[in-house]
Amino acid sequence: MPDISRYVIAVLLPDRVGALRDVTAVIVELQGNIAGIRQSVVDGYFSLIFTSAHPAGVTDEAIYHALAARLEPAAAIVVRACQALSQPPCARGARYVAMTCGPDRPGTIHAISAFFVEHGINIEDWQVENEGAEVIYTAQVVLPAAADFRAVQEAFRARMAVRDLSASICHENIFRATNEVGPIKHLLGK
């Protein structure tokens, strides 16, 4: 029997000061060690996802109930045993930034994400920015190494144009080059 139990935990609640403190207090009490963690605030809602490792006797139910007791009733909590992935979500490849800009309409995110699925592209991060009447979505994605980048790029532009969106996909290096200090050669793997 393994000595360690690993869990993936998600918490959603109206944003307030002290949310992360309260969640991590529970993890400490249950002798947990947090590995990966990501927090964001979207439209006033605090969203947290993390993995933690606990002594074998700590169950997912125990974690859930401890968090529920500590947090307010409005909090949504999910605790799942952390499964080792049998294979990565998509074939290995390079990271790109996909961007669309245009009118805010229902279905845009679905259309973008559906396109990505068709081309085996995995979304690693997603952000939205409002500029007047326009919405800019930027997604940091991984394209499979075998993908024909130019074909994917053209297809993305064409698909988004139908929705009156300007669209682009470009390699992450352009963003790193313009915002990082360090030899450009290193970005090119030299």
Binding site: V97, M99, C101, E124, D125, Q127, E129, I136, T138, Q140, F149, R150, Q153, S166, S168, I169, C170, H171, E172, N173, I174, F175, R176, A177, T178, N179, I184, K185, L187, L188
Partner: protein, 457 residues
């Protein structure tokens, strides 16, 4: 993971602020093509260019697509053609230019530089041949650009060469009369010409360069202007040093872009990467103007007292930002003031606020010199020589590059409007305040000795 603001700011630079790579220039050494047989010479030159530059455009297009960044021009710069012309005639020189032109067309580049000679100390027969062939070579080719280095801080100025080039320049204007003297737009006369300049018309694979090399010229006047405008919106009282800091930061990002593009193209071609030339190179398009930068800084009327100071501030800040961004900065690297290619500068000339004399003062602190300036068609060769000499000594005395690219428009008078179209732009014919009066000085010929500070050993 990339930070949100980093992504957005870079996207803004590309989408809204006209960030692009102005040129990727492949330098090619042609010295191995030397031959006493004219036919063998021109065939070898054409074959070598086509063979080595054939994949340039495709690779540039791939890299541009990969990074979402336009590479506006793909060009070729060869080793000085004068070296190949030793023992040859002007007829062969013209054929050589035509071979370069045909090869450039075949590899689909829009301009090819290197019909050039370095004559700052003296002139070989081949160099003289090239100079004498300029009128016909530039008139009968579409893509060939020429450059002649007549001075250097180390050598002084070769006045005899200046006189010879000036005479040929006027002949080139006449020969291309039907195109309003356009042949002269493809000729620049330099002092301290850099060996690695990727921008036309002065691009050449100079002495000391590798067999092949990729040099990159970035752009970014629009990016710099918008950065200044953004700062001034948030802080209308921003001081000049604060504005200089903002320009520096922007130049950093623009330079990094250029190096990324250049290195990747070089890798794909299997060629060494040379330099990023971080010059702010305008186009006639509104929003892509160096003149607009000065206006954003507060020089409402270009040419007013203070304009030269603004040029210096911009040029210096660009260099500082670029130098931090990359250790491979070279070429000209600064702020161009090409009158016809910058709508704001061109407008200021038309309105009479920006004079030739003021432009000359600005060249003491800017990147290049008197660039893309239309002159009256009746200007004398001696006056053109005088203009070149004035610019050359600014260069050699200040240890900087200066150049003269002027177009005497046959039959045109000061105030007349000329439009060359495309990146060459349009403008108003301008004249020196004093058109003639130093002919005797120029006709003395000989050499202007190198300045005392050239003795650095």
């Amino acid at each position: 993971m990339l930070a949100r603001q980093d992504v957005l700011s870079t996207l803004r630079m590309v989408r809204e602020e006209n960030l692009d790579v102005r040129t990727v220039t492949l330098g090619l050494n042609l010295n191995c093509c030397a031959s006493r047989d004219p036919e063998a010479l021109v065939s070898a030159v054409r074959a070598r260019i086509v063979s080595l530059a054939g994949d340039l455009v495709r690779q540039c297009d791939e890299v541009a697509a990969r990074y979402g960044l336009p590479i506006v021009n793909k060009r070729v710069a060869v080793s000085p053609a004068s070296i190949l012309l030793e023992g040859h005639t002007t007829a062969t020189a013209v054929r050589l230019a035509q071979a370069m032109d045909q090869a450039a067309a075949e590899v689909q580049v829009d301009l090819i530089g290197g019909f050039s000679a370095f004559v700052q100390k003296g002139m070989t027969p081949g160099e003289g041949t090239l100079i004498d062939a300029l009128p016909e070579a530039l008139t009968n080719t579409k893509r060939v650009c020429a450059s002649i280095n007549v001075g250097s801080t180390r050598a002084g100025v070769n006045v005899d060469a200046v006189r010879r080039v000036s005479a040929r320049l006027l002949e080139a204007a006449q020969a291309s009369r039907a195109q309003r003297g356009f042949a002269c737009a493809k000729l620049v006369v330099f002092a301290n010409m850099p060996e690695d300049n990727p921008f036309m018309a002065g691009a050449v694979l100079g002495p000391g360069e590798a067999e092949r090399v990729v040099n990159v010229g970035v752009s970014g006047p629009g990016v710099v202007k918008r950065a200044i405008d953004r700062l001034l919106r948030s802080d209308p009282q921003a001081t000049l040093d604060e504005l200089a800091e903002e320009i520096k930061h922007t130049a950093f990002r623009v330079t990094r872009t250029g190096e990324l593009i250049g290195r990747e193209v070089a890798d794909r071609l299997g060629v060494p990467f040379g330099v990023v030339d971080l010059s702010l190179a305008p186009t006639p398009r509104v929003g892509d103007s160096v003149g607009e930068i000065y206006q954003s800084l507060g020089v409402e009327k270009l040419g007013a007292p203070g304009t030269t100071a603004a040029v210096m501030l911009l040029n210096d800040a660009v260099k500082k930002g670029g130098a931090f961004a990359s250790s491979a900065v070279g070429g000209l690297s600064g702020a161009f003031i090409p009158v016809m290619e910058d709508h704001a500068l061109s407008q200021a000339v038309t309105e009479g606020t920006l004079t030739l004399e003021k432009l000359e003062a600005m060249t003491a602190v800017c990147s290049v010199g008197l660039d893309m300036i239309l002159l009256p068609g009746d200007i004398s060769a001696e006056s053109i020589s005088g203009l070149i000499l004035d610019e050359a000594v600014i260069g050699i005395a200040n240890r900087k590059t200066t150049g003269v690219r002027v177009i005497p428009v046959p039959g045109a008078k000061a105030g007349e409007f000329v439009d060359f179209g495309g990146l060459f732009g349009s403008g108003t014919v301008m004249r020196p305040a004093c058109m003639e009066g130093a002919a005797a000085f120029v006709r003395r010929g000989g050499h202007i000795p190198a300045p005392i500070h050239s003795l650095t050993n």
